[in-house]
């Protein structure tokens, strides 16, 4: 599955910019604008985004973009501080669930005017993503993509174990028997990690598959300690107990093992497509998650374009920001980084359909779940649920007890946040 990446990228970006040229207003009065653009693409997706940005620069010579990447967790601590001290960027990509926090901190500004100018409608996007980018009726984010997790398979390992590398398991029975088969050949097929990458994403997907949810719709109360949550974690633990996964897997070690052919499956995010695609000698394929619970579901998040508040807003810069956002969201080329474009026109383009792996993930779109959002919610999840998942997977605490305790503490923190943010 190694497409000729460069060629595709050039073609797709070019096509998008022809379109962008029609829609966007590219007034070139000779004055150069240099935009600072921040994001968290520290992995293989960084160069892809840079290529897109450069395509916009080529089409609009009056715009120069300085792109800066930091790990997402550092990004979210730096961004509000930088903006508050006047050292922030003009435009940034952030996860849709971070928008309420940043809106409350007045780090980002409402984009109702920009969206009107670009004539963007809910209809142009996948509805749940589009709706998640608004806070109290005002729009703060323009969705760029969706990045769910999916089932990656190492085809070579499957073949060697006598399994069909072309048809991947889709149900619980199929998945478990494949793992049993692999175990018989001495391969621990699915490594379960206690970390958010990838253990946390797997848990949330399974929680939804078993019919549960993270919070109530208003995100005021944690509900992950439901029976569905217990079932989800018990299933993950059973993979270790049955010997399908080693114990105490390190951070990213599951992904490295996948590339080394030490395991067969990994439930990883769309962002891994670029990494696996550029790993020499790795034969892999990607499919929607198997249905382990009662409904098909997969965790997803979305990168949204946001615009930073400035001490003195500069219309010329805002105009350039508009051009950048329009150009990048239109382009199907971002899909090369493994992402599913949020904009319908890009998702339905011929160029996108040619991408096997990404299209396989896109088949999941109707089943994708996005966590409800409220200011501070993702930090609460991080300091409660993520720890409970790790405790349960490491076996240091019984599943139900870990989930109950984390939900109780989360509810307390959510109450404190409501008081602080006045929501």
């Amino acid at each position: 599955m190694r497409e000729t990446r460069r060629e595709f990228l050039a073609a797709a970006a070019g096509a998008a910019l022809v379109l962008a040229g029609c829609g966007g207003s590219s007034r070139s009065d000779g004055a150069q604008v240099t935009l600072d653009f921040w994001n968290g693409f520290t992995g293989g997706d960084g160069p892809q985004m840079l290529a897109l940005v450069q395509a916009v620069e080529k089409e609009h010579p009056e715009i120069r973009v300085r792109m800066v990447t930091a790990r997402w967790e550092d990004f979210y601590t730096k961004l509000p501080a930088a903006v508050a001290s006047g050292e922030g960027p003009d435009v940034a990509l952030m996860h849709v669930d971070q928008i309420p926090t940043n809106a409350a901190h007045r780090t980002i500004m409402p984009l109702d005017d920009l969206v009107r100018d670009l004539d963007l409608q809910e209809d142009d996007f996948a509805a749940p993503v589009w709706r998640a980018g608004a806070v109290d009726g005002r729009r703060y984010g323009v969705p760029l993509d969706m990045h769910p997790i999916g089932l990656y398979a190492n085809q070579q390992v499957l073949s060697e174990a006598g399994l069909d590398p072309e048809s991947l398991p889709t149900t619980r029975d199929e998945y478990e028997s494949a793992l049993e088969e692999l175990k018989g050949k001495g391969v621990q097929g699915h490594w379960v990690t206690p970390f958010f990458f990838t253990g946390g994403h797997q848990f949330m997907s399974l929680l939804w598959q078993f019919g549960g949810d993270l919070t109530d719709p208003e995100a005021t109360r944690a509900t992950w300690n439901s029976d569905a949550g217990v079932e989800a974690l018990e299933w993950m633990r059973s993979l270790i107990a049955k010997g399908y996964s080693p114990r105490n897997v390190g951070q990213d070690a599951d992904s490295i093992a996948f590339k080394n052919g030490q395991n067969a499956f990994i439930w990883n995010g769309a962002w891994a497509i670029g990494d696996y695609g550029s790993t020499e000698g790795l034969e892999w394929t990607l499919a929607p998650l198997p249905k382990i619970g009662s409904v098909a579901a997969a965790w997803s998040n979305s990168h949204n374009f946001t615009v930073m508040r400035q001490p003195t807003p500069d219309p010329q810069r805002l105009e350039a920001v508009k051009v950048l956002i329009d150009g990048v969201t239109r382009s199907p080329a971002w899909a090369e980084a493994g992402q599913i474009p949020a904009r319908r026109s890009a998702r339905e383009s011929e160029a996108f359909r040619k991408l096997e792996a990404q299209s396989a993930l896109a088949r999941q779109v109707p089943d994708l779940r996005f966590a409800a959002a409220a200011p501070g919610l993702s930090d609460v999840r991080e300091s409660t649920l993520d720890i409970a998942v790790a405790q349960a997977i490491n076996g240091s605490r019984p599943v139900r007890e870990a989930l109950d305790d984390s939900a109780r503490r989360a509810n307390e923190l959510l109450a404190l946040n409501r008081e602080k943010y006045g929501t």
Binding site: T42, G43, A70, T77, A81, S85, N260, W271
Partner: protein, 272 residues
């Protein structure tokens, strides 16, 4: 007999000390795939500069050489500010009589016992109010304000013989002249020690710069190298290459100046 035992211990310890550094060195020359190979290869199957190229080429993203310069400026700047402010203050406290002296000295010494974590939250707001966030003054001045330098130099000045200074004063020299022409030359070793200790402390600082510097071109090595650790993907060849680029200059600097650095550190124990 005894000598042999000592040599075995010294060499065994040296292996423990050198092995991780050499491992960083060879890994920096592997490809990303080979760096994560299991079992690991001892030497690169083919020496690759892929990781080092990334460090030096994507200069806007991870300008390691720039971070190195920033760190150097911050560390040397801190050393200078500490010596330039602490020395005159310590001299006044050691040699001059004035009302309020005991109170001032008492206050300064008392803060020696205040754990630095106390300063994290308020100094962030103070630095922000000064407009210093995301700039080198933020990582120079707050750390230079510690009481150790004044305390350390005052103890040293008190121990100097008074006679020369008194003779100069009788000859009509003023305090500043005495301080600059007599005390400073006599105190060179102590001033150098304080300078080196301040440089080392700042060089090793990680927590504070992590939260007050934001843009890549303004980072010091600590938070900068942290950027190389991806959130969902770890490229160990790249990490080790970054570590190598950051380490080689300091190790050379250290090899050249190690006598002074080590003597500086050892002196801190005796006088502190």
């Amino acid at each position: 007999m005894k000598r042999a035992w000592v040599w075995v211990a010294l060499i065994a310890l040296s292996v423990i000390y050198l092995a991780p550094i050499l491992w960083m060195l060879v890994t920096a020359f592997k490809t990303e795939e080979e760096s994560a190979a299991s079992p690991p290869t001892l030497l690169p199957s083919q020496w690759s500069t892929e990781a080092l190229d990334t460090i030096f080429s994507s200069s806007a993203q991870t300008p390691v050489p720039r971070w190195f310069v920033n760190s150097l400026v911050a560390a040397l700047g801190t050393g200078l500010v500490v010596v330039l402010t602490a020395a005159p203050a310590a001299y006044a406290l050691a040699r001059m009589e004035f009302p309020g002296k005991r109170l001032v000295f008492g206050l300064i010494v008392a803060t020696l016992f205040v754990p630095p974590i106390i300063f994290l939250a308020p100094n962030y707001e103070i630095v922000e109010a000064l407009g210093w966030l995301d700039s080198l003054p933020a990582v120079i001045f707050p750390v230079s304000a510690g009481a150790f330098g004044v305390f350390f130099l005052r103890q040293f000045f008190v121990g100097l013989p008074k006679e020369l200074e008194e003779a100069a004063l009788l000859d009509g020299a003023n305090r500043l002249q005495v301080f600059l022409r007599i005390v400073v030359p006599l105190s060179r070793p102590a001033l150098a020690t304080l300078f080196l200790l301040s440089v080392l402390t700042n060089w090793n600082d990680f927590l504070w710069p992590l939260y007050v510097l934001f843009n890549p071109e303004n980072l010091t090595l600590g938070p900068g190298l942290g950027l190389l650790q991806g959130a969902n993907q770890t490229n160990y060849a790249l990490l080790m290459a970054g570590g190598l680029v950051a380490s080689v200059p300091v190790l050379i600097l250290f090899a050249v100046a190690q006598r002074y650095i080590i003597e500086g550190v050892s002196r801190s124990g005796l006088k502190g």
